[in-house]
Amino acid sequence: MNRRRVLVATLALLPVPAFFLSLFLGSYRIPPAEIFFMLATKMVNPFTQSPWPEVYGVVLFDIRLPRVILAMLVGLALAVSGASLQAIFRNPLVDTCILGISSGAAFGAAITLAFLPEIAVQPMAFFFGLLAVMLAYSMAKVRGEVSTVSLILAGIIVTAFFSAMVSLVKFLVTDPHQLAGIVYWLMGSLSLASWKYVVQVSPLILCGSLFLFLMRWRLNILSMGEEAKLLGVDVNRERFLVIVATAVITAAAVSVAGIIGWVGLIIPHIIRMAVGADNKVLIPLSMSVGAAFLLLADDLARSLTSYEIPVGIITTLGGAPFFIYLLRKTGGGGWR
């Protein structure tokens, strides 16, 4: 019991060291002590005359900090959405792409990059991500009831449709630079991170996550499926609320970072293996570990080689073997 408490506390605090480590890392070297000093000074008085070299300020406050914060927000969003969707679909293999969010967002991004250069990619990706979920949900609704099986099927249909549409856009694009832009976006990357993105998505991600955090115990009951009705839960309504919250935060995350796979799948699963399935613990820990995981993955993405590797590749390449290791070690964590 005590060992578990230590483990929970460690996982909960993981983002803190990851945050500082990520600020230290980068091709331009700033001494860690200087970084602490700069952060502390800014915290005390954000409008202070900076006593440090101007380039330090630009690198830390305009490049690294927004990127680090965005990576944490996106990681948090993907992991908590994954955990919540796994609960309501009663399936540990559900990922954030289950309802067509990712492929919808991909389509929104692709048409913008290909045909609408004057429009910003991010709102379009967000809009189409939500549109995809709404399509899937309304397709799955039969006589006022929405079963999880029909939702999954509708999600697969919507995903397939938008994937085909993305391929069509890629096929129609003639300019190789535009095509490269689409392909790179689809791989998922945080290299375009800026304060503007942080400001745009943080309210959505934080509000949605707060709602899911408050629903965390309720998710246990929703994971009983239709049976939750017997326990006094309006299953359709509450499931709908969870889907709306996850759709909003996932679409927000995807719209600024592209498609980053595996975070929503493996983070909740790893935590479940480590500390058990109770969503009361799982939801907050998914947030913290998801944030730390994507942050560290992004550190690798930007510092492993002299050019940027899309972080989506890192999460999958790094996540899969670790996942296999855990799966073998714990025997699936109580799954049979």
Binding site: W217, R218, E227, K229, L231, V233, D278, G334, W335
Partner: protein, 261 residues
Amino acid sequence: MIVLERDLCFSYGAGAFQLEDINLEVRAGEVVTLLGPNGSGKTTLLYCIAGLYRPQREQVLVNGKEVSKLPRREAAKIIGFVPQDHHPSFPYLSLDVVAMGRAAHLGLLGSSKRRDLEIARRALEAVGAFHLADRIYTQVSGGERQLILIARALAQEPKILLDEPTAHLDFKNQVRVLSLVKRLVEERKLAAVLTLHDPNLASMFSDRIALMNNGRLAAYGPPEEALTAQLLRRVYQLPVHVHQLRDVRLIIPEFKEVLGS
């Protein structure tokens, strides 16, 4: 008096299955068993009582309230349902599963507090399964799972207990679960409605039996009234002998006749 159904009528799908003219009254402190062949409407009736299906004519009244029109949350404070085929999803601790019974007492954004866990612990104690509290729910045996689900229903603090003791339970566990239900009903003045397949178990543990056939009540009364050879023969289309052994009725099929026919 707790459950009253006046001319309950219910049809499922396009007339595929119907319940008709069911008048049933269940009082507090009483175990009523729904007995009948497969497809006779036992489970459908149980779901009507739980308020999951909405009857077309008349209604299921619980304490004078119509259950199917109550919000689920209010219904769950009155009715505790122990499901038959329960598919567990995630490997929760048993105590957490029992605590889920508190959902109706907590709001949408509520979370189980110390008090709810205490109620869950006491519910586990009441069913004699306190030792299972820290076991993983997906890894306990079928009989233990049944006890945990009964504890979960108790944690709802209901007035009525609906139970479909599963046919997967072995001989000992069947008796154990039914004795437990009977004891809880007497101690807590609950009203219980069960569905059973075995007329012998039904006669042993029920105060009254509703013998069902094709969506209608063939008989409703104490075991000695509802379990007569004549009625059972008609309902099950099976020749049976009924013996009285002290205060227990023994129903024995004439298997030679069955094989011969």
